[in-house]
Symmetry: C2
Subunit: 334 residues, 2 copies
């Protein structure tokens, strides 16, 4: 292994000068800088990160804790985070907490042990309910989930508004009995439920809700049971997430029910498959890559300016109307 001392000797300088050059500090002559660079090149020197981190008490590692990377939403978010992180010379550690507070806590402690520069976190309801930024020795940016009174940097969709607009679209399309299948384990699901309720109240309609764990399998099971119990179908069914939407579609297919003929359908997250099923499904699209990018940019800014005011970035969902929600079916799909 070639050490910084070897470079110093080779360049005829001291370790201090080499260190200064490597960390881009001022106070080194151009001549010295050239010689250091040449020696680094000649010897193939690579800094020892462990030593650097031990000495400087700093780290270029970020943590990213999501519920499940298999969720397309988090997949896209994490991809954005990693792109920006690596472009800024930082590393990222990805963890799946599976909505389990124990796992979440485990990873949070791991982040502390790693002495990370910051964390992007999609918190469980449990953590969010008692969230306080000073609980952590590193800056945290929340993503996807955040209450209106949470004292934290955060990036998220305007969930209540998005749900309202989605539901109003259904109401405007002539649907009256609208069922809402939502993930009860997260703040996001609850906020979307609220939007649903407000939209229904505004139209004088009666809510029909089904809480469940936000997985495809649970949604499938819940929908299947729902279909068995209810001989009369609602006019429309809405899913509060893409994972849930998939489960609903699976159950509908199994029961040989068509949309929108038997029941209209809509959901969150514009996953690729929603355009490819027939008919295509109306969704509220989230700008997932932008959410991830905004989150890490917020985090990097916070790391650079620890004392800056708390910021919250709220993004707007985009309604994409397709055939699954229309009462009078047009001739042609998009």
């Amino acid at each position: 292994m070639v050490r910084i001392l070897d470079v110093a000797k080779h360049a005829g300088l001291s370790v201090a000068s080499v260190s200064r050059v490597l960390s881009g500090q001022p106070g080194v002559s151009e001549n010295a800088r050239k010689r250091v660079m040449a020696s680094v090149e000649a010897l193939g020197y690579r800094p020892n990160l462990a030593a650097r981190r031990l000495r400087s008490q700093r780290t270029d590692t970020l943590g990213l804790i999501v519920s499940d990377i298999r969720n397309p939403y988090f997949m896209e978010v994490s991809r954005a985070v990693e792109d920006v992180a690596y472009a800024n010379g930082m590393r990222v550690m990805l963890c799946n907490a599976d909505e389990e507070p124990e796992k979440e806590n485990f990873y949070l402690e791991m982040m502390r042990d790693e002495n990370v520069a910051g964390v992007i976190l999609s918190p469980t309801l449990d953590l969010l309910s008692r969230y306080h930024p000073t609980d952590f020795p590193f800056p945290v940016v929340l993503v996807d989930r955040c209450e209106s009174d949470t004292d934290a940097d955060a990036v998220l969709l305007d969930n209540t508004d998005a749900a309202q607009r989605l539901i109003r679209h259904l109401i405007d399309s002539g649907h009256r009995r609208i069922a809402f299948f939502y993930g009860a384990a997260s703040a996001t699901g609850r906020q979307r439920l609220q939007g649903y309720q407000e939209a229904l109240a505004g139209a004088g309609l009666t809510p029909l809700t089904q809480a469940l764990k936000p997985t495809t399998d649970e949604a499938f099971a819940a929908m299947r049971e729902f279909l068995q119990k209810n001989t009369q179908l609602p006019d429309a069914i809405v899913a509060s997430s893409g994972l849930i939407l998939l489960g609903l579609v699976q159950a509908l297919r199994e029961a040989n029910l068509r949309f929108p003929e038997d029941v209209a359908l809509a959901g969150f997250d514009d996953m690729p498959w929603t355009r490819v099923v027939t008919p295509a499904i109306t969704v509220m699209a989230q700008p997932t890559y932008d959410i991830g990018r905004s989150a890490i940019e917020l985090l990097l800014a916070r790391i650079a300016q620890p004392a800056q005011a708390v910021r919250r970035i709220v993004l707007r969902g985009e309604l994409r109307v397709r055939r699954s929600s229309t009462r009078n079916q047009p001739q042609q799909a998009v």
Copy 2:
């Protein structure tokens, strides 16, 4: 910050004894061990990982370099890797090389700088063609991609066999003109092409192939162009990956072409949406989670036993016949 010295003082012992207890070494009395544990608990001591890594020259970090985490295949593989890694007290660094040799090399160098214990890698064709295990200062397990003569631990599907079986199924179903859209950027795509060619040769049929970059967008564009150029459709179209399959379906929908009525369809990767489109699509399913799990288990074994013989784990794909490939359509979908 509480250091190991603080624990030693609190327990009335030396740092050496504390270190021994913490690393589970023998040569410490039961009494001392108890006292150390109690002090650790009382003081909330956490070992400093940077110091430990600097001193021990070892790391509990693994690298995972895939082409794109947004590919459901790698998503599932990475999830498996992370589950096993964290269960073994290791960390993992995830990187997306995007099939670009430069990025791949960048991340490989980063892994060296991090002094990782090992790497799981889905190599570009470029790297694979000149792969030699001694090029890296850490053990490497290849995943998804590997030539038959590559000298490396690897976990992959029996691609040629899987493609053959998929194509034979189509031939047995009465299809004669079978087009193959495959990703030309990876060894995997090429191996599947070979299986396709062998199956066709065995039946005395003429190949009809289309090479492309393995993304949904490229597949969509290629299929669209294909449909414009060819007034007469083939009997069947096959995609060499799930991402490509999605692009094909998008183009088919756009052109208002039905499967299997207008053209039969099949592909690789049993993604959830393939069951939910109508009709459901015949696929060659890969045991993705098992592939990831096998890869990290192989890596951990290699780390524990650096000199052990090179091992290759070849998994078998599972053909899942659904309506998209059947000539005489059954009454009911599954």
